[in-house]
C-alpha cells in the first residue's frame, strides 16, 4: 500500500516506554500532526520515521518498502528540528546546499537550487549571511529551506514553531500549510498545541500519556466526535459530565435524564459513561426553565474577553462552561439563576 505505514511499532528506552502499539497508515500528500501532551511519545515517533532511532519492535514501510533498518542518511526525508540545528560555521547558502554538496551536485546547480529555495521561503539574497545574524523567524525559514533541498519524500518537523512568539507563530502556521499545499509534499508536524494542529493539518494523530494513539482523523471530526475523555479534554475545551446510560438514547446525569443523539451499539444500559459537550453548544438562558435537557443552576463566573463570552454555571453540583459570541450573549451576571440547555445532537457519549 502506498504512503507511510507503521506496523505494531513500539519503542522503549531501558525500562521507560516511549511509544506503544502504534499501527498507523498515513497516505501521501497529507499534512499530518502528531499531537499530544509532553512525554506522550510524539517526538519519538517522528524520530523513528526519520531513522534517528530504531524501533524496539515493529516495522515501518514506505510505499510497501520496509525501511525499518535503513540508516537515517539513506532515507531522504527532510527534517526540521526544534532547536533548528543550523550549522553555525556555514552561511545560510552553505546550510541550504549542504545535502546537495554531500551528494556531489555541481556548483552551479547548487547555487541555482539554493536561490530557488530562498525564494520559496521568502528570504531572497540572504545566501551569504551568517546564521548568527538572523532573527528567529529567519532561521526558521532557513531550516525549512535546508530540509527541502533534495525534494524529500517526507517532510518532518519537530515542534517547529515553539520558539516563536505568539503572533509570528500564527503567521507561520498559515505559511507552513500553504507551503505544503503548494509542494504537495507529505508533511508530519509534532506539536503539543492543539490549535496549531487544528489550523494546519489534514489528519491529526492524537497521542496520550499512556504513549498510545487515541484517535486518528481530520481535525473537525476529532473535535466533534472525540473517541474518549482524554481526546475530548485535550482538544479544545469540553464539559465532561459523569453519568450512567439509563436507556437507549438517554443518559442520567445526577437526577436529570438527558436525551442524547447517538448511542454506541455495544454499550449496555447501566454502564458508567461520560457525557461530553462543547461549550459553544450549550445555550444559557436567564431564569429557571423546565424542560427536556435543561439543567437549572447558578452563574458562578462570567469571563468576557471581547471576542467571546464564557459563562460558568454550577448546576446540581456540576461545573458547566458555556461560550457564546457577544451578539448571542445572555443577559446574566454572577449570582444569577440560569438554565443550561444541552441539545441532544451535541452530546457525545464516551466510555473511557
Amino acid at each position: 500500500m502506498s504512503g507511510l505505514l507503521f506496523e505494531n511499532i513500539s519503542k522503549h528506552f531501558g525500562s521507560v516506554i516511549a511509544v506503544q502499539d502504534v499501527d498507523l497508515h498515513l497516505p501521501h500528500g497529507r499534512f499530518v500532526c502528531f499531537l499530544g501532551p509532553s512525554g506522550c511519545g510524539k517526538t519519538t515517533l517522528l524520530r523513528l520515521v526519520a531513522g534517528l532511532e530504531p524501533p524496539s519492535s515493529g516495522r515501518i514501510l514506505l510505499d510497501g518498502e520496509d525501511i525499518t533498518h535503513t540508516p537515517a542518511h539513506k532515507r531522504n526525508f527532510g527534517m526540521v528540528f526544534q532547536s533548528l540545528a543550523l550549522f553555525p560555521h556555514l552561511t545560510v547558502g552553505e546550510n541550504i546546499a549542504y545535502s546537495l554538496k554531500i551528494r556531489g551536485t555541481e556548483r552551479t546547480e547548487q547555487a541555482r537550487r539554493t536561490a530557488e529555495l530562498l525564494e520559496l521561503v521568502q528570504l531572497p539574497d540572504m545566501a551569504d549571511r551568517h546564521i548568527a545574524q538572523l532573527s528567529g523567524g529567519q532561521r526558521q525559514r532557513v531550516a525549512i529551506a535546508r530540509a527541502l533541498a533534495v525534494d524529500p519524500r517526507l517532510f518532518l518537523l519537530d515542534e517547529p514553531l515553539s520558539a516563536l512568539d505568539a503572533k509570528l507563530r500564527e503567521e507561520m502556521q498559515v505559511e507552513l500549510r500553504m507551503l505544503q499545499q503548494r509542494l504537495g509534499i507529505t508533511t508530519i508536524v509534532v506539536t503539543h498545541d492543539q490549535r496549531e494542529a487544528m489550523t494546519m493539518s489534514d489528519l491529526v494523530v492524537v497521542m496520550g500519556p499512556d504513549n498510545r494513539i487515541h484517535q486518528v482523523g481530520p481535525p473537525l471530526a476529532i473535535y466533534r466526535q472525540p473517541a474518549d475523555t482524554f481526546v475530548a479534554d485535550f482538544i479544545g475545551t469540553s464539559n465532561l459530565l459523569p453519568g450512567t446510560l439509563s436507556g437507549r438514547g438517554e443518559v442520567s446525569v445526577r437526577e436529570t435524564r438527558l436525551k442524547i443523539g447517538e448511542t454506541p451499539d455495544d454499550l449496555a444500559v447501566g454502564s458508567q459513561v461520560s457525557l461530553s459537550i462543547r461549550p459553544e453548544n450549550i445555550i444559557v438562558r436567564p431564569g429557571a426553565i423546565q424542560g427536556p435537557n435543561q439543567l437549572q443552576g447558578k452563574v458562578s463566573f462570567v469571563r468576557d474577553v471581547g471576542s467571546n463570552v464564557e459563562i460558568y454555571l454550577e448546576c446540581q453540583g456540576l461545573q458547566l462552561t458555556s461560550r457564546s459570541t457577544p451578539k448571542g450573549r445572555p443577559d446574566l451576571d454572577q449570582g444569577d439563576t440560569a438554565t443550561a440547555e444541552l441539545p441532544p445532537e451535541a452530546c457525545v457519549v464516551l466510555t473511557s
Partner: protein
Amino acid sequence: MSTPLPRGFKAHLPFFYPALMLGIFFLVPFGTMVVISFFQRQVGGFYNPVFDPSNYRNLFTPLFGRVLIFSLFLSALSSAVCVGIGFPFTYFITRLRRRAQVIWMVFLLAVLSLSEVIIGFAWSLLLSRTAGITNILVWLGLMETAVSLVPGFGALLMGMCYIALPYTVLVLYPPLSRLDPHLPEAARTLGASPLKTFFTVIIGALRNTLVAVFIMAFVFLLGAYLLPQILGRPRHWTLSVLITDQALYQSNMPMAAAMAIFFMAVSLCLVGLTIYLGKSRPGGKAS
C-alpha cells in the same frame, strides 16, 4: 542584572588579595628572571649582579638553534597526534550515557595523577627488548625477534602523546558535551554518512576549539623535561632539558634565564601567528 561597576574599597577587597599574591609571587619572580638573564654568571654560585648582555648573544649558536627547532617540532607533532586522537575520543565519550561518562572521566583523572617520570619509566619498560610489547608481536608471529624501541623518537612521541592526552580530553570535554546533539542528526537527515557528519559538521562547528586545544597542548608539551631524557636519545633532548641543565648543573642561571625568555618569546609568537591565521580564514570568525 546589568553588571555594575565596583565602587569603593570594600567592593574591591576580593580583588586585592589575589592581585597581591599574583603580583608578588608570579610577576616578581618573572621579572627577576628577566633581570637575571642580563646578569653575569658566577661560577660555583648563582649569578653576579653585573649587567652583561652576552647571554643573549650566546644564544645564536647552531646548537641552540637546532635544539629550539627540534623542541618546537616535537611539541607541534605530538600535539597534533594527541588532538587527532583526543578529539574523536572525547566526542565518543560525550555521547555515552552518564554512568559510562563518569567512569571514563574518573579513569582519565586517575591517569592524570601519573607523573612524568613514572610515565617515562613505564613506557621505557613497555618498549624495551626484554619486557616490552615487541615480545607480544614475536609471540603473534609478526616479528622475528624482540627489539628495543627505546630510546628513540617514536618512543618519545608516544610518551608525549600519552602525557598530554588527559589534559586534552579535559579541555575538549566542555565544548564537546555542549555541542547541540541535533547538529549531527540534522546532517544525517540531509544525507551525510556518520563519517561525513563527523568531518563536515562536528569538526566544522568546533574548528576554533580545535585550534585552541592544539595550542594548549603545544605549549603544555614544550615543558616536557623528563620524557626526552628517559625515552629519547641526547639528540632528542629538548630546550627544557637544556635550560634546566644550564641552571642547575652548569650553574649558569643567567644563561638559563636568557634561553628561557627567548624560548617563551618564540612560543608566544607562534601561538599568536596561529591565532591570527585562524581568524583571517573565512568562517574562522564565527565562534
